[in-house]
């Protein structure tokens, strides 16, 4: 497919890999923020092509993984109601709540449906005026325009049997939380290309300055990621800390203005709890007062739920780049994609699931994550 295949070209990837080897003299730790990038890195073995001095650690950028336990419990409580049609992206269904997951609700007779887009949920609400349709609105800035549009359309069309259960998270506050932690060892970031497609990248400039870290807005294909790494390493080697844009074919400095305008109309910034990390100030989106009637937490009275996370799972440390999945004692033993303890094992984009899928065999003795020598084509 155009704009995909050429960015998987082995020759281009090799040239970029050589260039990274040529310029690297120091030891650098880079974090890719987005789970989609983590998936590509592990799948294509990009980390194994890099010089010893360049380490990639995986960031918190999987919205499925960071959705807090109590929100899953709220979803389960709402989905179990007989009048409700509960619509969600497929990967939320297996995320374990305190006691069960949404699949179990479905198996027990709950009307839980997988949809491709929140706009499909609005259509379902229109077609089923005697039912309550709830959409599980998770995601980063990338997904916020679609969810904002769903609520906005419902209001325009006078649909009252539609609401969303919101667990929206924002990337810049998470980056700031990582950088301000005393345990931090990340020296540069690959920022998530599609998040910046919506929001632009001016928000990252004060972060790059304050914490003296290069931030390179990066795409999702192997050539994109390698070029993003190259640009980060080049800045680190030259002692620069700027915001640069590798993914200019999709990202404009100001982002997508019509999408941002709609987000600002429907959502406001709220504190949000991240699974495994805890509450981060101003790190999420919630509905504005004007759209409060579309808030499923209010409609179904579940706002007060709380839940404790299982102790054994170190997903919180994995999400912050402090530990790698293989360092978790439960990895691939007690915790597998069939029986996940933490959300990072559930979602395809979660670091634990990516390692399980592509690296399990090489994580043998010493449980080291690198297999080495893997080629591209």
């Amino acid at each position: 497919m155009k704009f995909i295949d050429e960015y998987r070209d082995g020759e281009a990837a090799r040239k970029l890999t050589d260039a990274i080897h040529r310029i690297t003299t120091g030891n650098w730790t880079l974090m890719e923020v987005c789970g989609g990038q983590t998936h590509a890195i592990v799948k294509f073995g990009i980390d194994e092509l890099l010089p010893d001095g360049v380490e990639l650690v995986h960031g918190p950028g999987c919205p499925v993984c960071v959705t807090p336990l109590e929100l899953i419990d709220k979803a389960i409580a709402i989905a179990a109601r007989p009048e409700v049609i509960f619509c969600s992206f497929g990967d939320m269904l297996r995320v374990p709540g305190s006691e069960k997951d949404l699949f179990m609700v479905k198996a027990a007779g709950g009307d839980v449906r997988i949809v491709y887009s929140p706009l499909d949920a609005v259509r379902i609400a229109r077609e089923n005026p005697d039912r309550e349709v709830v959409f599980f609105a998770v995601g980063f800035e990338t997904t916020a325009p679609a969810n904002a549009m769903a609520v906005w359309q419902a209001k325009q069309l006078g649909i009252t049997n539609f609401s969303i259960l919101v667990s929206h998270v924002l990337v810049p506050p998470a980056i700031e939380a990582i950088l301000s932690s005393p345990q931090n060892r990340v020296q540069a970031f690959l920022a998530a290309g599609h998040v910046c497609t919506i929001m632009g990248y001016t928000e990252y400039e004060p972060l790059a300055k304050k914490y003296k870290v290069p931030i390179v807005v990066t795409g999702f294909e192997p050539v994109d990621i390698l070029q993003g790494v190259y640009m980060c390493v080049k800045q680190l080697e030259e002692g620069r800390c700027e915001v640069e844009n590798q993914y200019a074919r999709s990202v404009r400095k100001e982002g997508n203005v019509p999408a941002r305008t709609r987000i600002e109309e429907v959502f406001r910034i709220v504190p949000r709890k991240w699974r495994g990390v805890g509450e981060i100030a101003e790190s999420g989106l919630g509905l504005t007062d004007e759209y409060a009637e579309y808030d499923a937490e209010q409609k179904f009275n579940v706002a007060e739920y709380t839940a404790e996370e299982p102790e054994e799972c170190i997903a919180g440390l994995v999400l912050q780049g402090i530990k790698k999945p293989a360092e978790c004692p439960a990895f691939a033993t007690k915790c597998t994609p069939e029986h996940p303890f933490g959300a990072t094992m559930v979602s395809n984009e979660g670091a634990c699931a990516a390692y399980y899928r592509y690296r399990r065999d090489s994580i043998g003795e010493g449980r080291s994550a690198s297999a080495g020598g893997k080629s591209y084509e």
């Binding site: 050429e6 995601g139 997904t143 325009p145 679609a146 998040v195 999702f220 590798q246 074919r249 999408a259």
Partner: protein
Amino acid sequence: MCLAVPGRIETIEGVDPLLKMGKVNFGGIRKNVSLSYVPEAVIGDYVMVHVGVAISVVDEEEANRVFHYLKEMDELQELGDTLQ
């Protein structure tokens, strides 16, 4: 979750810019996509689509930049090799 896939716009429907939809072709698979957030898009443009919503028009010139850059790097390298 943040996956967005490039596809080519084949038709545009709806006069109201806020409810603008279109058919987008993803390597042979066609889907109805909201085009409300890309008012500048025309038929034939490639758009990045995330959960049924187009979020940007792909800039072809920028898309080729990395390959131009790699070519330049090659030429420099060759020049370096000949000079040595």
